[in-house]
Amino acid sequence: MSATALSGCAGEDGTDTEPTGTGGFSGTLQVATYSSFTGADTAGNWLKSVFEAAHPDVTVEFTTPENGLNQYILRQQNGAEIDADLYIGLNTAELVRADQELDGSLFETVENDLERADTVKSALQIDPDGRAIPYDTGYISLVYDGNEVENPETFDALTSPEYEGDLIVQNAQQSDPGRAFLLWTIAEKGPDGYLEYWNELVGNDVTILSDWEPAYGAYMNDEAPMVVSYSTDQVYYHGEDVDMQKHQVGFLNDQAYANPEAMALFADADAPELGRAFMDFVLSPAAQREIAVRNVQFPAVEGIDPGEEFSQYAYEPPEPVTFSYDELSGNVNGWIDDWAREIAN
């Protein structure tokens, strides 16, 4: 009996991307992404089928590593092969981490090679080096039960007796919305003041759960009347048999924290040309509309209308806030660490 199954070091078959006679592409595009981006009726599968229809000799394949971008940072560090061309679903803090951990860049600068890179809203740009290109964004906000509480409207209200024990948030160490909410408080209270604000929140009996699912589940089970979530909540919950009061979106200080999702081309992609073509396709108006609706996120490109159904129930804050790459670089780990230590003490 042998405990080992060997597989060689042979490269992927058919990844060569010789343009065919008509200037089209052929070969396989390997796209690394998160698991809910692919599957029936997802944005990923729509992109794949439409792109493949336009380029009959191209196959788009998805791979969904459990540990996300860390998989590729570690591969690079360990000298292992990067078996993907494109990464979809990158956020600012992850890009900062990749650059901090690696000597050379994991990704290629593409901004000037894409036809549509300049159509992306400038407020959403996350990479000063033009590698990561945003394709959609979510806004982190409160979702509250209008039957139980009024819209708190400000950060300061959350620490008042009126809202004692009323808020559920997520752990910034392991949850995207949790980290976004923490960063939002830092944007609001400053790096010197946010820990004090959180002490007041904890004093007001805030509940900090692992991730979005348990937090939202606890909210739906009436454990507390407010939860940190997305401003697109009502896209899922509307209609005659839904209590819309339970799905009120609350912005704080007229703000919400923007969490853009970006895509980037790996520096040693086997199919860079094909990758860039796919990125341009993702930024096309048709793709932007589909991604918004299927991913339930706002388009990243200027002037896209995802349709009535979406626009009626998804709210954009009067003032989106987000930290830039430079602001997060060198800071984000320390901010989160200090915060978690403060809470655990």
């Binding site: 060689g8 029936a40 791979t63 459990e66 540990n67 509940t207 759960l209 692992s210 699912e213 348990p214």
Partner: protein
């Protein structure tokens, strides 16, 4: 008499295979990660020392590492100040050990009476109940959180009942008690199963001899029964401590960040790729859990009495007509039954009910229709339930077939030579004493990324690697259940068989193993359960996403938004997981039970 070489070599060969499997899928990958803390490139052990000297992690103990010479002076100053207890902080490690100790106590308290009932009373469905006891063991934490929420939450069943009978609500969610209860939910079944197995292995004749010599029932219990139960109960308590010590998702899903453990912090460090600090935390965790295990094993080696097999005690009927209600012992059993129903059955039944309850509270089959739709879908990236069930069962059977012989071999080694054997067993039990997060990271950095061997980059992934990884995680359960039973066996039985000409292997198979069928079956069931519930190494080693299992499918359905942000599809898959494992446990016990006595 000249013994054939095959017989002489069977055990050493088995040991070599066991060590090879352990080396490839455990020791090598794990040491790769832990070395970062021991030899980080700068000062040796620097990351570990940094953690020891940090009051956040070690509380008041940090003085011993940060300023050892100042400790006596500090103590004197503290005594002079009137011994203020509030100044004594225990840090993250202290809190983690504290909640683990409480969890272990709760597990033993809730599990022992169960063993008593299963071992000493006869009632319809007893065998099936014994088989399905360890079902909670395989439930993914996100579903346990759902079940507990539905049972103990603000609008949960318990509160609805309390309000209906005019009592006040209880508010236990996101507190330490609910985390401890959840740990007991996972670990009390371990106590019940291990102690039941030990109890069923007690020779009734020994008790009868004691009674015949004039011992009271209580005295007979104290002198004959208790010494054989205590090792099993302590083993289970120790395992409950180790698991609760390294518990991670359930703490944050039910407790919140204020109750975080070392493992939560370790996970955060791995996520932010602070790998030296993560490794240092893992080394300290492992030193504590392995050290505890070694101390316990040395104690156990001094405790085991001799027994000869024979038939187990006959059971009392649980229901004795009208007498039942007048018998305090039987009433206590029913009282325990009620508690067990609330703690164990409650969350499981709540989970099943959630899988057929829509967002508006009405009955729905939408989540099961979702599973059927996934099965029928041709879309790329769809995770289908049927292959998940098949893969889970295939891996679990493979794990059982590999882990049981591995566990038995390690038990034989452990019981052979005194103290050295116990040290060997402690070291070989490392797979349950090392953080699962670290094992996963190690597997990723070695077997998945590839290892340079003679100029070739070798990767080790796919179904065989998954089974090997599962077996390594599972076999300590086999050896932990089998070792005490094996140590208690009278060597003369096997020796008699060999003097009659039986080979060593034949004596093992025909004389020794049949005498320890109950513990062997318990170990086998645990091996199966570990494999079914395993997530971390499965996703890493299952190549290309084709060989996903039930917990992996479940996790994908959690993120699936096609029915909106709902855990409904996950609860439906969870119900499937529960059903498949419950049936499997019954089958394992029925098939294995045929060899009993």
């Amino acid at each position: 008499m000249q013994r054939p070489a095959a017989d002489r070599l069977a055990l050493p060969a088995g040991l070599v295979v066991t060590l090879a499997v352990l080396g490839v899928v455990f020791y090598y990958p794990v040491s790769r990660v832990l070395l970062a803390a021991i030899d980080p490139g700068g000062a040796a052990f620097a990351p570990i020392r940094a953690i020891l000297a940090d009051p956040f992690y070690t509380g008041i103990a940090h003085y011993a590492f940060a300023d050892p010479l100042g400790v006596p002076e500090g103590i004197i100053a503290w005594v002079r100040n009137g011994i203020p207890l509030a100044a004594v902080e225990f840090g993250l490690f202290g809190f983690t050990a504290y909640q683990a100790a409480l969890s272990a106590l709760a597990s033993v308290a809730l599990g022992l009476p169960g063993a008593y009932v299963l071992a000493r009373y006869e009632f319809p469905g007893r065998k099936t109940l014994r088989s399905v006891t360890i079902v909670p063991f395989v439930l993914p934490s996100i579903l346990v959180a759902v079940g507990f929420q539905a049972m103990f939450g603000a609008t949960g069943l318990v509160n609805e009942f309390l309000v209906a009978v005019g009592l006040g609500r209880i508010d236990v969610m996101f507190t330490l008690p609910i985390v401890i209860l959840a740990h007991a939910f996972y670990n009390a079944p371990l106590v019940t199963r291990l102690v039941t197995a030990a109890w069923e292995g007690i020779d009734a004749q020994q008790i009868e001899s004691a009674r015949a010599m004039g011992a009271s029932p209580l005295r007979a219990f104290r002198d004959v029964v208790a010494p054989q139960l205590i090792p099993a109960a302590l083993t289970a308590g120790l395992l409950a401590f180790v698991f609760s010590f390294m518990s991670f998702p359930i703490v944050l899903a039910l407790g919140g960040l204020e109750l975080q453990t070392v493992e939560v912090w370790l996970y955060a460090k791995v996520q932010s790729l602070a790998l030296e600090e993560a490794a240092a935390l893992a080394v300290l965790e492992t030193v504590i859990t392995l050290g505890l295990m070694y101390l316990y094993l040395r104690y156990e080696a001094t405790q085991v009495g001799i027994r000869g097999g024979g038939t187990s005690q006959s059971r009392r009927p649980l229901l004795a007509g009208t007498k039942t209600l007048g018998d305090p012992r039987r009433l206590a059993v029913f009282g325990y039954g009620l508690v067990a129903a609330i703690v164990f059955l409650g969350p499981v039944v709540s989970l099943i009910l959630e899988s057929i309850t829509g967002p508006d509270g009405g009955f729905t089959l939408a989540y099961y229709e979702f599973l059927l739709a996934q099965q029928a879908s041709a879309a790329v990236g769809t995770v289908k339930p049927l292959p998940a069930i098949q893969n889970s069962l295939l891996f679990a059977v493979g794990t059982l077939l590999l882990a049981v012989p591995m566990g038995v071999i390690v038990s034989i080694v452990a019981t052979r030579d005194g103290r050295g054997g116990r040290l060997a067993e402690a070291l070989l039990s490392a797979p349950i004493a090392v953080s699962g997060i670290v094992v996963g990271l190690g597997l990723l950095q070695t077997l998945v990324f590839g290892v340079d061997v003679l100029g070739h980059r070798l990767t080790v992934t796919g179904p065989v690697a998954v089974v090997a990884a599962h077996a390594v995680a599972a076999y300590p359960f086999v050896s932990r259940t089998v070792t005490p039973a094996l140590a208690g066996l009278d060597d003369r039985l096997a020796e008699a068989a060999r003097s009659l000409g039986a080979s060593r292997v034949r004596a093992l198979l025909t004389v020794t193993l049949p005498l320890i069928v109950a513990p062997l079956l318990a170990g086998a069931a645990f091996a199966f359960a570990i494999s079914i519930g395993e997530f971390d190494s499965t996703v890493l080693l299952a190549e290309g996403g084709g060989s996903y299992t039930m917990p992996v499918a479940l996790e994908r359905y959690v993120g699936n938004r096609s029915l909106g942000p709902s855990l409904g599809p996950a609860t439906a898959m969870g119900t499937v997981l529960l059903t498949v494992t419950a049936v499997s446990f019954v089958v394992i016990d029925r098939v294995g039970g045929r060899y009993d006595g």
